[in-house]
C-alpha cells in the first residue's frame, strides 16, 4: 500500500509542475503588489503560505491598505473564496473512502482552483497522496513567486509575465476538453458556461457583479440546470 501511495504522490508532483509555473507568474505579481501596499517581504510570503488563494489575496490588499475592519476582510474573503466550498463538496465525493479521515483536514488546505481541477480529473477514487504531490510542488511555487516578486519586482520582462499569465487558463482547458470529446453533454455544458460567462462580463449591469460572485452564481445556476436536464447515470459519476 505504501508503494502505491508513493506512486500517487510522484504522479501528483509531476502533474503539479504546470500549476507551479502558473503560480510563479501570478504570485510574482502578487509580491510586487503587496510591497506597493506597504506589506513587508515576510508578511507577503506569510500571507501566500497561509492562504494560497490568488483572488482572495489580491482583494485583501485593498482592504488592508484602506485600513478596513477585520469583519470586512473576513466577509470579502468569504464571498471571493466561496467557490472553494463547492469544490470541497465535490471532492468529498471523490476522496478514496478507504483513506483515513484525517487526510481530509490536510487536503482542505490545498483546495485551490488548479489543485481541485487536477484532483477531480482523476479516474476513480482520489488518493490523498495525489493531491499532496501537487501541493508539494505547487505551494512552494506560490510562496517562492511571492518572495521573488517582493524582493525583485522588475527582473522579469513584462512580456514574459504576460505570456505566463495564460498558463493556468490553458491548463484548465486541457483538463475539461478531453472528457468532453466522449461526452456531448459535457461539451455543451462547457460551451454554454463560457458563453454565459462572457455575457456576464460584458453586458450592462451584469458586468458590475464581481468576478468571485460571478463564478459562484454561474456555477450553481448552470450546474443545477445541467443536473436537471441531464441527470448523470451511475457509471459516469464515478
Amino acid at each position: 500500500m505504501s508503494k502505491t501511495n508513493a506512486q500517487h504522490f510522484f504522479k501528483g508532483c509531476r502533474d503539479g509542475v504546470p500549476i507551479m509555473l502558473g503560480y510563479l507568474a501570478v504570485s510574482f505579481s502578487f509580491g510586487i503588489k503587496a510591497l506597493l501596499e506597504h506589506l513587508t517581504v515576510g508578511q507577503a510570503v506569510l500571507m501566500s503560505v497561509a492562504n494560497v488563494t490568488s483572488a482572495g489575496q489580491f482583494a485583501s490588499l485593498s482592504v488592508i491598505a484602506a485600513a478596513g475592519s477585520y469583519l470586512e476582510l473576513a466577509l470579502s474573503q468569504l464571498i471571493i473564496n466561496l467557490r472553494y466550498c463547492l469544490m470541497s463538496a465535490s471532492l468529498s465525493q471523490k476522496v478514496d473512502p478507504n483513506a483515513p479521515f484525517f487526510h481530509r483536514f490536510i487536503m482542505s488546505y490545498g483546495v485551490t482552483d488548479e489543485i481541485f481541477a487536477l484532483s477531480s480529473a482523476v479516474e476513480g477514487p482520489l488518493s490523498p497522496f495525489y493531491t499532496y504531490g501537487q501541493m508539494a510542488v505547487a505551494i512552494p511555487g506560490w510562496a517562492l513567486g511571492t518572495l521573488l516578486g517582493a524582493i525583485a519586482g522588475n527582473i522579469l520582462p513584462a512580456r514574459v509575465l504576460v505570456a505566463l499569465s495564460v498558463a493556468l487558463y490553458c491548463m484548465f482547458i486541457a483538463i475539461i476538453v478531453p472528457p468532453a470529446k466522449q461526452n456531448k453533454t459535457l461539451a455543451i455544458v462547457i460551451v454554454v458556461s463560457m458563453v454565459v460567462s462572457a455575457v456576464f462580463c460584458y453586458a450592462p449591469y451584469l458586468r458590475d457583479i464581481s468576478a468571485g460572485m460571478r463564478v459562484i452564481i454561474l456555477t450553481v445556476a448552470l450546474s443545477v440546470a445541467a443536473a436537471l436536464i441531464r441527470p448523470v447515470k451511475e457509471e459516469d459519476a464515478a
Binding site: M47, A227, A237
Partner: protein
C-alpha cells in the same frame, strides 16, 4: 494602516481554511440523491469554463493574443496533448504574437 497586518493575515487564512475544510469533513457519506450527485459532477466543468473565458482575453496586452492562446489550448487538448505541453505551447504563442502585435 490601523489594524495589525498579522491579525489581518490570520483572519483571512482562518476564513479561507474553514470554507475549504467544512464541506470536505462534514460530507463523508456517499450522497445518494441523483440530483445532488449530478450537480457535483458538473461543478468542476462549469467552474473551470466560467473562470477561463473570457478572463483569458483580459490577461494579455491585447485580447487577440489571449484568444490565440485560448484557441491553441483548445486544439492541442482536443488532440489529447498533456497539461504541460498545452500550457507551454499556448504561452509561447502568446509571447510570439505579443512581440508582433504590441509595440
Amino acid at each position: 494602516m490601523s489594524g495589525n497586518v498579522y491579525v489581518y493575515i490570520f483572519v483571512m487564512a482562518g476564513v479561507t481554511y474553514l470554507i475549504r475544510m467544512l464541506p470536505l469533513t462534514l460530507i463523508t457519506k456517499k450522497i445518494q440523491s441523483t440530483f445532488i450527485k449530478s450537480f457535483l459532477y458538473y461543478v468542476p466543468y462549469v467552474t473551470l469554463s466560467v473562470m477561463t473565458f473570457p478572463a483569458i482575453l483580459r490577461e494579455t496586452s491585447t485580447p487577440w493574443s489571449g484568444l490565440a492562446g485560448f484557441v491553441t489550448a483548445l486544439l492541442l487538448s482536443y488532440k489529447g496533448k498533456g497539461l504541460i505541453f498545452v500550457s507551454l505551447c499556448s504561452c509561447a504563442v502568446v509571447f510570439l504574437l505579443e512581440l508582433i502585435l504590441v509595440a
